[in-house]
Amino acid sequence: MTGPIIRLEDVWFSFDGTPVLEEVSLDIYEHDFLGIIGPNGGGKTTLLKLILGLLAPDRGDVRIMGKPPQHHRTAIGYVPQYRTFDFGYPISVIEVVLMGRLGHIHRPFRKYRPEDRRIAEECLAMMDIGDLADRQVDRLSGGQQQKVILARALATEPRVLLLDEPTNQVDVQTEVHFFEILRQLHETMAIVLVTHDIGAVSVYVDRIACLNRRLFTHDSGEITEQMLAETYQCPVDLIAHGVPHRVLREHEREEGA
């Protein structure tokens, strides 16, 4: 297949009359490592939910492998924003990861087969947490929980991995490890990384898009001052949480002064 795996064409979306996305067009190809940056409230999560068919656009068209999202969204590994659901739920690590198989089981009642268990265990092993399979998810560290969610996404055997602020609440060491894992995964699947951590994006991605209601795509992984100014339309150190001075050289000079 040579066309894009995911295609958004002139997508508009508003929430309660407030425009969230306008005129968004985006193609995601098989070997992409796309970073989407933008301020909080700029529509990043909304964009992912439109791709997954969890929301329907007011206007425009969203396609996964040429079909409406519902047909092929099981081929997308989604890593939602950290802690959007209750980790206190009484469930084990392997049970969470197995849920990634549910989209591929079409028999009534969706009981798992040994094959599904094998794949789930492989995904855990890939994340280096094979020994935690029977642990309750609540009893894990933040980084381990994030790996469980990534393992669940991988259990769908995805062609594209969509990650929404995956390193939001993990420590720096885990973050570096996490990006190394993504780099390896990129050999076999496309990756879309949504984040406001501009520093992380610039190191790993090979294409970048800036989203603040409108989407600006750029064919290199480098972030320029102009791109940021266009996207954020305000001084960057106000919005690039955590790493305000890594991005713009001008700011570094200010810091040294």
């Binding site: 099981t74 939602p80 469930i91 798992y112 669940r152």
Partner: protein, 275 residues
């Protein structure tokens, strides 16, 4: 204690205790982890409207409760998904309107309304054999549905969004859970009455939740505790000549309190978080 086993009513009560404990252990576990105790309360109180209908038109009130509780489960499920009104307002309305209709229908019903009190506060010591059969049938439906749809229920109650992406029919599975809750409520009405249903539905499972981190084990613990609480409640009711429904609820609540204290202390000692 032994001599009362000779009475048919007491053997019926024991059987009823086991049958309702199975349903409320399994469904109660979902009610607790999914935090839908309030919805269950709304469903059980709305069921009183159905009981009133039964009195008014001269059919078995429990069938009225069955119909109305299923209808309100579907209603609340669809309405809360559509958004719009706040869910808690909807539940409160359903709760009060159900009771109001019940009171209205009962007052309009011709003549004497036998055992109205037992529908409000339950009377496990007065359960006819025909009701045991109904309970057994409801148990089979509940156990069968949860066994068959276990993976889907788990996915939907844990993470609705991901379940949607996996193309699981989230709305239908949520409605299934609410309908199973309604069936459980109907069974519990016989034992503890419309007003006390929430206690027996949530407390055994809540204790189970404190002592296990696996859903099936929480269900198991809740079933066993349900049996213990109903038996103990019946026994106290028989010994002290006090209402059985109230005894069952108070024993459950006392044990829940004790269990909460124990878990707190244990967490405090081991230093693990008390979430």
């Amino acid at each position: 204690m032994i001599e009362i086993l000779g009475y048919a009513f007491f053997r019926h009560a024991l059987a009823a205790g086991v049958l309702i404990s199975v349903a409320c252990g399994i469904i109660g576990a979902y009610v607790v982890v999914k935090k839908i105790a309030l919805i269950s309360g709304g469903i059980s109180h709305s069921a009183f409207g159905g009981i009133g209908l039964g009195y008014l038109f001269g059919f078995d009130p429990i069938l009225g409760a069955l119909g109305v509780s299923l209808a309100s489960a579907l209603g609340i499920g669809v309405a809360s998904r559509r958004g719009g009104e706040h869910e808690d307002t909807l539940i409160a309305t359903m709760w009060a309107v159900g009771m109001a209709l019940g009171i209205l229908f009962v007052s309009l019903a011709p003549g004497y309304t036998p055992d109205l009190f037992s529908y409000l506060f339950g009377n496990i010591l007065f359960i006819p054999a025909s009701d045991l059969l109904l309970m057994l049938a409801l148990d089979l439906v509940i156990v069968g549905a949860v066994y068959l749809f276990y993976n889907e229920l788990l996915a939907v109650t844990f993470d609705e969004e991901f379940a949607s992406i996996m193309n699981i029919p989230v709305q239908r599975i949520s409605l299934l859970l609410l309908c199973l809750t309604a069936l459980t409520v109907v069974m519990l009405i016989k034992a503890v009455g419309v007003i006390l249903v929430i206690a027996l539905l949530t407390l055994p499972a809540a204790i189970g939740r404190q002592h296990s981190t696996r859903l099936p084990r929480i269900m198991g613990i809740a079933i066993i505790l349900g049996v213990v609480f109903t038996f103990a409640g019946m026994w106290i009711s028989y010994l002290l000549d006090v209402p059985s429904g109230a005894s069952i609820v108070l024993i459950s609540a006392a044990c829940y309190g004790a269990s909460t204290l124990c878990t707190r202390r244990r967490h405090h000692r081991t230093g693990s978080p008390s979430r």
